[in-house]
């Protein structure tokens, strides 16, 4: 899933006849002031970052005049919201709200269908509404073959107690939101609050939107508007992570790899498989180890790619040991992985006698892999031990290599 920044999402909604407050995206204080003067006071100023729950982080504030705008803009631009440094702001007309509603559209992995969640109690987290006022929530599954009809939108709001002009206003909004969900291959659209203003208009006041990155090939207009890979990081990518993306992309036709830098740690860690990596990371922690990164690879990578990955893992400061731990491969050639890994250690000139390494790598061509690793002097295991055993071995080896340190 690729998140969409709020200004982009709101432009998409407006071009599909869903009202939003007037807004402007700016990156410096002076622009913020100018934008607010044009929009008219009072205004809302929000940090323009992909992280959610900005209000709770203090990154959504109101301003009554130009001086307040400058002060608040300066303040928010110096903030880091949920690990994302704020580089841009959204300056928006503050609405005069008479009622706050909630609506989201996403996929339900239980029923494997789109689910519309609507509530007459918006403005707070849906989890909180579910806990405190569950009677004010409707969950409605959409049959994609039939599509989502206007009358279904009407029934949802009517069942939530809306009537009169409010019902007339919000019905087409919900219907159009579903059209937007389909049209742009969205994985989630959340409008919270969907505001009823004192003038009786329904306006998408705050939104959150994610696009299916697997569908971007058929959404050419969106490809430069979404934040790629934003669901795989809880902060902007680090320099090392960006390098590893380049390593993976350099030979995109073979093998996939994902590298996530973790805080601290001394064990460089490379794991085969998206599931296996979860297992091994848990095991390292359980045995008292300190993994420095989370890395998975699969799909039969080339030797060059493996070398690049291993070098990247080892380049992080503080790495004092290395674990290669993979599930028994279905198609990844373990001898190729062995060659790539051994080359990385050779290139970096690491003395293997002083550097704790454990390899657990079984599967295609592992007789050759075993020979290569043994020849290079690396402690190698195939399917004679389990993946968890290998995690325990590296933790023990680290303790022996660095006695005095609290591992």
């Amino acid at each position: 899933m690729a998140r969409v920044l709020e200004n982009i999402g709101k432009e998409l909604l407006r071009s599909n006849r869903i009202p939003t407050p007037d807004f402007s995206a700016v990156s410096i204080v002076k622009e913020a002031r100018k934008a607010a003067d044009e929009i008219g006071y009072p205004v809302v100023i929000k940090a323009l970052v992909t992280a959610g729950k900005r209000g709770k982080a203090g990154a959504v504030k109101f301003a009554e005049n130009s001086d307040e705008v400058e002060e608040i803009a300066k303040q928010i631009l110096s903030m880091t919201v949920h690990n994302f440094p704020v580089e841009r702001l959204l300056v928006e007309k503050k609405l005069d709200i008479s009622q706050e509603l909630y609506v989201s559209i996403a996929f339900d992995s239980s029923k494997m269908m789109p689910i519309v969640i609507a509530s007459s109690a918006g403005g707070i987290d849906i989890e909180e509404i579910a806990r405190t006022q569950p009677e004010k929530i409707i969950k409605y599954h959409v049959n994609m073959r039939e599509g989502f009809h206007l009358y279904e939108a009407k029934e949802i709001w009517s069942d939530l107690g809306l009537t009169g002009s409010a019902l007339q206003k919000v019905t087409p909004i919900l219907w159009r939101l579903y059209q937007v969900f389909e049209k742009y291959d969205a994985t989630i659209i959340e409008v919270n609050p969907l505001a009823m203003t004192s003038e009786g208009e329904a306006v998408a006041a705050a939104i959150l939107m994610g696009i299916d990155d697997d569908a971007l090939y058929r959404q050419p207009d969106l490809s430069d508007k979404v934040e790629m890979g934003s669901d795989r990081a809880w902060r902007p990518l680090t320099a090392l992570e960006k390098e590893m993306v380049a390593v993976d992309a350099s030979e995109s036709y073979r093998g996939t790899a994902r590298y996530t830098e973790m805080e601290g740690g001394d064990i460089g860690f490379l794991c085969g498989g998206g599931g296996g990596s979860l297992l091994v990371y848990d095991a390292l922690l359980r045995f008292g180890g300190k993994p420095a990164n989370y890395t998975e690879f699969g799909g039969n990578p080339t030797e060059t790619k493996v070398t690049g990955l291993v070098k990247g893992v080892l380049s992080k400061a503080g790495i004092k040991g290395f674990l290669m731990d993979a599930n028994i491969t279905n198609n990844t050639q373990t001898d190729v992985v062995a060659k790539g890994m051994i080359r990385a250690f050779k290139d970096l000139g690491i003395d293997l006698k002083d550097f704790p390494i454990i390899v657990r790598l079984a599967g295609v061509n592992d007789v050759e892999a075993k020979r290569l690793f043994s020849e290079a002097g690396l402690e190698y295991y195939g399917d004679d031990i389990t993946m968890e055993d290998a995690a325990r071995l590296i933790v023990d080896k680290m303790r022996r290599a660095y006695p005095g340190e609290a591992n």
Binding site: M1, G52, H82, N83, F107, S109, S110, M112, M113, P114, D125, I126, E127, N143, M144, R145, E182, D185, T187, D212, D214, A215, Y217, R218, D231, R232, A233, W234, T260, G272, G273, G274, G275, G276, S277, L278, L279, Y281, D282, A283, L285, R286, Y294, E296, G298, A326, N327, I328, T329, N330, N331, A362, G363, V364, D383, T386, M387, E388, D389
Partner: protein
């Protein structure tokens, strides 16, 4: 007996002429699996490892009786390939293709449910029944016996790689598998664990099931409810990976696309508790599966 595939499976491979599909076809034939036809538009008249290729599934069915399709078609064409299989009366479709747009997946899953057709995947590494030597997909590679030997344990896994590793753990414990099913790591799939468990329940050969779970989705919670309702009555051993994800900021994917904790939902610790409360044998360590299996295996 086993589930999903057996000696009577009449298999066709859609997208058979692709690089991976041809290699997998070769391995499957060497294992003893009968593959009757392949489909790749524009390539009728060719063959892959001696298997005839047809332009359309309709053409293939005029020549052969077919009831199972394995889909290797690239993501942009996968929706149509699956609809073609459903439209031609195929009753089990295994989708290997990764990264199919989610809206497409939701649409063909609905169409399959309405046509009473079972889908496994997308993003599955395969299904294997070692007794009948039937394997669909890359599962087991060219050295099947290393992980998969015939037996009475069913395996369900959200991870392709761990389907093999779990089956190998079963072998290490001194048992074999009835059927191992890689269900796919996506948030929208044709056969979540609960659906596979309901098949294992009815299979007399399967005595125990081992399940590999991950963070995200409600698949494991749904299994707990299913056991409580009496839908599955055999011993179930579950391992839930990714407990460290609970310590990370919410909304971050680790591993497979569906492996994400959002809005407090999908936490491994909650899944483990729910499964334990339902009477399931939850392994704290993955290694524990080796000790638990002989204890729960009916004599």
């Amino acid at each position: 007996m086993a589930i999903l595939v057996d000696k009577n499976s009449k298999i066709v491979i859609q997208g058979i002429t692709g690089r991976e599909a041809s290699m997998v076809t070769k391995h499957a034939l060497a294992y003893g699996t009968k593959i009757l036809a392949g489909v790749t538009p524009g390539k009728e008249g060719q063959d892959v490892e001696g298997i005839p290729v047809y332009d359309t599934l309709k053409r293939a069915r005029q020549e052969r009786e077919l009831n199972i399709s394995v889909v290797y078609v690239p993501p942009a064409f996968a929706y149509d390939a699956v609809m073609e299989a459903i439209g031609n009366g195929i009753k089990l479709i295994l989708i290997i293709t990764e990264r199919i747009p989610r809206h497409d997946v939701a649409k063909f899953l609905l169409a399959a449910r309405e046509a009473n057709c079972t889908i496994v995947g997308p993003n599955s590494v395969g299904i294997i029944n070692p007794e009948d030597r039937v394997k669909l997909g890359a599962i087991g590679g060219d050295n099947v016996e290393r992980c998969f030997i015939p037996g009475e344990v069913g395996v369900i896994s959200r991870s392709g790689g761990m389907t093999a590793e779990c089956s190998w753990m079963v072998k290490k414990a001194g048992f074999g598998v009835s059927t191992s099913v890689s269900i796919g790591g996506d948030p929208l799939i044709g056969s979540p664990p609960k659906a596979i468990l309901s098949l294992f329940e009815k299979d007399p050969k399967t005595k125990v099931v081992v399940m590999w779970g991950e963070p995200g989705t409600s698949y494991e919670e749904d299994v707990a409810d299913f056991i409580k309702e009496g839908g599955f009555t055999k011993p179930l051993i579950a391992y839930i990976a990714g407990r460290f994800v609970e310590q990370m900021p919410e909304g971050t994917v680790f591993g497979h696309a569906a492996s994400i904790i959002e809005g407090g939902m999908g936490r491994p610790s909650d899944k483990m508790k729910r499964l334990r409360d339902a009477g399931c044998h939850v392994a704290d360590n993955f290694n524990d599966i080796i000790q638990i299996l002989p204890q729960v295996m009916p004599k």
